[in-house]
Assembly symmetry: C2
Homo-oligomer: 460 residues x 2
């Protein structure tokens, strides 16, 4: 970690120590002792500030709670990790984490009917409405990760032995959500371009009907899959599903929060998004949105009555298990939301950067892109078997030669040691950073005598 | 908010802005522009530090992301809110939130077999082992709240129409977890002291057997309930459950993290705890621990195979839906854990403070404690119908007169406006604060001509 980053953390931590003094004091009271401790602590922060300004000093704090390293991956590197990119917090979200870290910090003004999505201070109720309209659906709830959104839907709709249509590129959490409900996944094959089409979905539905004598109870498809981040025909698929009267779950883990998503236009009955994957939010967070039609079923309130006490907990929603995300997880999500709403409008520019980077890699002789091309997403799978892997074969560090070279230049997040088929993500990187990444890959290639065809970089 | 607290937040936020500059810069590069911005930002923080030291200045930042108030409840008040007390973060947890806010920050070193509880850097794997031994069980997983722990167990053990024994004081999340699995709650009655006994549990099991012809499939009892925080005979109940070969779930939402819990000694098959309720952890967090015997069933790995691709996601656990808590939620929990492990040893002193406060309230003529007494927990329910409520009846602010008086003295967290039957919690308050709270209640009583019998304060 560079010293400026180190000292920034030390200053933040020292301020938390000052804050703890404030938390421990009696209200409206000052003791000379306390004043002294605060003076000393403030002076400590002043020294850290000098060090930040001068970019100099000696590290003093190495660990949190004696055993957790300070994470400075984003401060000291360009991170091209495939799934971390769009989850990185905004500064506003980090401030919300600071102010709302205590678990029940959301609940100070919780009043009847005592449910998270009804709280108006902090503005959680309006956030829920904005969230629904953000994906153009009628009702939304926050959930601890997209997977918990899938689970709420499968648990409501899927009975033992029921079939659920998923894609041949379905994420494992979809498998688990179906399995947990007692259902069986039935995969739609990909076409020759690794795309799930409406026709293939219709054929699969027919095949399931033929084989089991029953229609599938749910179609659940990722708009962009986790493997190639190829775009699948969700709109066509929703239409097919509805022709069979089967509800359609739109998996927007890789879209909600990075590009515009219009649930109604797609024809989705359920839209699921991931906070920590695509909404610049803390983990675990996500959104489950649905229509007026489906809301009463998915967000049904408890019907259970205590046999003895006759207690009922009327407004609590069974699938949500009452309240879902409290404290900093929700407030971080809310604090990033204004930025997230704006940033989806920049999707075209994000795609330009994505394609610029891929073109830069393709310019290295022998490299290929495995994802559809031109890229319609910032996450991509590339194949460098005939470029960087040729070097790795002859290098005593094997595939780690590439990680070594990249990290020397401050680039991290590729799968360490992988030089064959691997993934990367450009989301949220500035043009300056994207150019730097391309230049670095090409410089490494040249250093190891791979041919670089600079003209290929047509977007430059 | 007092200006010192305000300026502490402003300094923290300004440092987050500096951190954002570091995040946006190119690696190993300095631009004069950047240096300038950093210099300016550092100077801004310096001004905030002067204000902190002098306890003076004018507020500059009022909102996070333009619509979220800065929460300073813990810095500017003594908070006696019934469920927030033991969830308040430690300073170490707040530092972990700062360093690990990004959702996938836990996952930088995720390697085969790609599961959260196997990650060793940060030390998540050893934390899981320590967590299990902390409650003296064999295996533990972190979950997004205690409710998700109940859900994992009911979803594994309860089939449609099955009966589950709960207490007549069961928390609503237990109802929901049973309902979600298709089961039916059967409540054990309380004895005349509002306690759930082993005998009453045995009778209820017999009654269910008689009525339905089937034994209940699970007994799930809160060690301390959420209403009175009375202690229930979990050890005796576990024994009874086992006599019928029914597994026992120990609900430790109000114990794990505040007092010692020995799952094996109790005879628990499952121990569930809440991070944000009792482990000084961010929300939503919790723990589900079990025995070697039950682990293969509750933490069973996926058996689902893609019909087309033959994909299997071997190590992923169905009920956990793969990985559970990432980022700051988990790291906050881990950072508080050393403190939590130590603080459970202070439970006797916490009880002394709890009883001191209750005695101080009882000294106000007409006040009663509804919870068992002497207190065995720091959460208590009190009845001030014949003391503070008499004042409220004649006051134009009604019950809010008490909230007004308390908040003037920097005490918050009682249910605003309630002067009849209400709850409070002394957990984690220093003796100095507890004395201050008692003195304040008694001063308010005297101000409104309620009789205060000071001798009753025998612990003083």
């Amino acid at each position: 970690m560079d010293i400026r980053t180190q000292k920034t953390f030390e200053a933040l931590f020292a301020l938390e120590d000052i804050r703890e003094i404030l938390r421990q004091r009696l209200p409206n009271t000052k003791s000379p002792e306390e004043e002294n401790t605060i003076k000393e602590s403030v002076n400590k922060v002043r020294k850290f500030l000098d060090d930040i300004e001068n970019d100099a000093g000696t590290p003093e704090v190495r660990k949190i709670a004696d055993n957790i390293d300070i994470r400075s991956r984003e401060e000291t590197n360009i991170n091209i990790q495939p799934i971390q990119a769009a989850g990185r917090l905004t500064p506003e979200a980090r401030k919300a984490l600071i102010a709302y870290g205590d678990g029940y910090s959301t609940c100070d003004a919780c009043r009847k009917p005592f449910r998270l999505d009804k709280i108006s201070s902090p503005p959680i109720a309006p956030f829920h409405e904005q969230l629904a309209s953000f994906v153009n659906m009628d009702v939304a709830r926050v959930v601890p990760g997209a997977r918990r959104g899938f689970q709420a839907v499968t648990s409501s709709l899927v009975n033992k032995g029921d079939s659920v249509i998923v894609s041949a590129l379905a994420h494992y959490t979809e498998f688990l959500a179906v399995e947990g409900a007692g259902g069986i996944v039935r995969e739609v094959p990909l076409n020759e371009h690794n795309i799930v089409t409406a026709d293939a979905t219709a054929e699969k539905i027919e095949a399931v009907k033929q084989e089991t004598g029953k229609l599938p109870v749910l179609v659940m498809i990722d708009h962009f899959d986790y493997q190639y981040a190829n775009e699948h025909d969700v709109k066509g698929i929703a239409k097919v599903a509805h022709q069979y009267d089967i509800p359609f779950l739109y998996n927007g883990a890789y879209t909600v929060g990075v590009r515009p998503v219009d649930g109604k236009d797609i024809g989705a009955d359920f839209v699921v998004g991931s906070g920590h994957k695509s909404m610049a939010s803390p983990a675990p967070s996500g959104v489950l949105a649905t229509t007026e039609e489906w809301a009463p079923r998915i967000f049904r309130t408890t019907q259970m009555t205590g046999d003895l006490t006759k207690r009922k907990f009327g407004v609590k929603e069974v699938e949500m298990l009452g309240c879902t995300l409290m404290g900093s997880t929700l407030l971080g999500m809310m604090a990033s939301f204004p930025t997230v709403k704006e940033r989806v409008k920049n999707w075209e520019d994000e795609l330009k950067k994505s394609n610029y980077l891929i073109d830069g890699l393709l310019a290295i002789e022998g490299s290929k892109v495995v994802s559809e091309y031109p890229r319609k997403h910032t996450l991509s799978k590339v194949d460098t078997i005939n470029s960087f892997d040729l070097v790795a074969q002859k290098n005593k560090r094997r595939g780690f030669f590439l990680s070594d070279e990249l990290s020397k230049k401050g680039i991290v997040g590729e799968f360490a040691g992988a030089t064959r088929v691997w993934k990367l993500n450009t989301y949220g990187l500035s043009w300056e950073k994207v150019r730097y990444v391309v230049d670095t890959f090409q410089e490494i290639a040249e250093k190891y005598d791979l041919q670089v065809n600079k003209e290929k970089n047509s977007n430059d």
